[in-house]
Amino acid sequence: MNRLIIRGGRLFDPSTGTDGIHNLYVMGGRIASFKPADRDTTEINPGPGVEVIDARGLLVTPGLIDVHTHLREPGFEYKETIRTGTLSAAAGGFTSILCMANTAPVNDNESVTRYILEKAKEEGAVNVFPVGALSVGQKGERLADMRELKRAGCVAVSDDGMPVVNGGLMRKALEYSSVCGMPVISHSEDTALSGSGVMNEGAVSTRLGLKGIPNAAEESMIARDISLAELTGGRLHIAHVSARGSVELIRMARGKGLKVTAEAAPHHLTLTDEAVGRYNTNAKMNPPLRTVADVEALRAGLRDGAIDCAATDHAPQSIIEKDVEFERAANGIVGLETAFSLVYGLVADGLLPLNAAISALTINPARAMGLDRGTLKVGSVADIAIIDVNRDWTVDPLKLKSKSKNTPFTGMTLKGVIVKTIVGGRTVFSAD
């Protein structure tokens, strides 16, 4: 059986409370053991079938998990494919990603789910867990066959991209999904309030003469969704929280013991609406970049656990969608390859404990989605990230593995370089 030994790294695994210099042993694609390096007397004989990685000075964590990516395949292969999207994930330290259902055709039935999983098996660099559509065609009219989606391999349902406007349907989705054992991921947005807005509503939108989206468009819908989670006992995961009021609502819901989890995107944790600058369409996404007060509230939420996941909302768009008038430009940015560094930047700046950061990228998303991942405990699948947190890198869109280059972080120097990404004991990415 193939063996992998990762020696001398700082093993950091919130799921087991491990933090220290350890040797990590992997056998047959699973974690065999880990031992404090200074007390490890195991004799290591490199040879055929044995790979040894010297991780001295590096951080070794469970492989990162992203509960919110758009892989664009099937239907929009010119933006991203399962191949390029998973390569991008691997380059970002992610070993498992959930892909949203807004493909063409929509992933609302088992044939699409199976197509995605087969493609991922053939060409994917990392584990792909599909998210099924909540409603048929994401039209918000009637429920998709959730049981069938689950059996085919979906792990959650969501109409992400298309807010579920109809509260009655959302209620039924939360009720019905619980018998299928899947959480409902909600893109919470009152589209009557967001209207034709294209950025955060505030002083910056006023200055630029662009239509704004108020925080209330998100907060009011999250309030509704939390009420419905309470009513139904269903499992609710709130996608891409951007507004400070949303954090308060979620904190309250979790305080009540409701089955509510939530994610914030690295860009919402680090940028404000000022990033729109002079109509930069790579700073256009939905929900939009907000203000300093919102960014601070999201960070506080991540610190105290109100927000338990960091998720990218990786949304590749081609130049065709982005190199146009700001108000006509498509929403979204690529995020897989910058996510870790952005979150780690908060740690480096003393704004977030390392434990909260790594939890939000590993065990918390695994728990939120019911995945048996995000941990290095003995016997678990050997999905591992090895990271040099002391090294900086500068974002060059042309060097991203993603097929699309729509990032607002161009030219920025970030902290933390992914050195190796290991999926099931196999190295799928190595920094050059």
Partner: protein, 308 residues
């Protein structure tokens, strides 16, 4: 003297010296329009393209006449919104036009930021003739020119801008311009049309028209889009007119020698009563006349002064 930038995209980017330069240049060029032969050879051989994605006969005509009085060749291109959506992108259009070697493109577009995109793509000068709800710099310059001509100075004056501030590029450009020249600017309109953080542009905001026009030296009435009623920005035209229309009764609250500006076209009887629009304080036709001089000055400062 010439502009620091190759483009005129907004008043936000200008400092008071830039603005004064345009106003004084316009002052010396205005006389050209009073001559029998209304033409100077300054921009002979220069090509100016008026690229209008939004229909606006007056602004386009004003730019066209300004170009011709400076002896430039002016070409008008009107792109209907529908064909623009289906057809080529703004960038394609811009690159195609640039291949014809224009010296300046004057652009009007319903989307904020389009002139800025063009300015980044193109080597030639770009003049913003109005972009979305963002800026309309030539309008603000002609407004300042008109006021300065009548009042001698802008410093220390009180300007009230009344109406749909949220959707108004005229308001934004004038807030920047008048405050940069030392005026006090107060904007007033219904709360539904008052954008958040407008004060950051340098003005004071109020929902009371009376508050805004009290002792004002200049009142600028904005055109109200009647369609906004359908989106519930205000209940009825009648109510709007009662609260934010300028009639003779309200006019009494302003200074005795108040000037009334309006960027046109007017909704008579809605935001401005016919008696006020045609009354002695109205500068509306002066604005149109001065618009040509100010646009001649803009072309001169962007294109002509280069050779000197």
């Amino acid at each position: 003297m010439r502009f620091k930038s190759k483009d005129l995209l907004g008043i936000e980017d200008l400092d008071s010296q830039d603005i004064e330069l345009v106003l004084s240049t316009a002052g010396s060029l205005r006389e050209v329009s009073e001559r029998e032969i209304k033409k100077v050879p300054t921009l002979r051989g220069r090509t100016i393209i008026n690229l209008f994605y939004e229909p606006s006969t007056r602004t386009r005509t004003s730019f066209e006449i300004a170009a011709k009085r400076m002896s430039a060749d002016a070409v008008n291109i009107s792109v209907s919104a529908s064909s623009a959506v289906k057809g080529e992108t703004i960038k394609d259009t811009a690159k195609n036009l640039e291949a014809m070697k224009p010296d300046c493109i004057v652009v009007r577009h319903s989307a904020s930021g389009v002139p800025h995109m063009l300015a980044d793509y193109l080597k030639c000068s770009v003049v913003n003739a109005g972009d979305g709800a963002h800026e309309h710099p030539s309008q603000a310059l002609l407004d300042m020119f008109t006021v300065k001509e009548k009042k001698g100075t802008i410093k220390g004056l009180k300007l009230a801008i009344i109406g749909d501030i949220g959707h108004s590029r005229v308001a934004r450009s004038n807030i920047y311009g008048f405050t940069k020249l030392g005026a006090e600017v107060v904007v007033a309109g219904p709360p539904t049309m008052m954008p958040p953080g407008i004060e950051r542009l340098g003005c004071r905001a109020t929902f009371s028209m009376e508050d805004a026009i009290a002792d004002a030296d200049v009142i600028m009435m904005l055109r109200i889009q009647l369609e906004r009623q359908k989106e519930s920005f205000f209940p009825t035209i009648r109510e709007y007119s009662m609260l934010y229309g300028l009639d003779e009764a309200k006019l009494k609250m302003a200074k005795k020698d108040v000037l009334i500006l309006h960027p046109g076209p007017l909704n008579r009887g809605v935001e401005i009563s016919p008696a006020v629009a045609d009354g002695p304080y109205s500068m509306i036709l002066d604005q149109v006349t001065n618009g040509v001089a100010v646009r001649m000055a803009i072309f001169y400062l962007l294109l002509g002064a280069a050779k000197e």
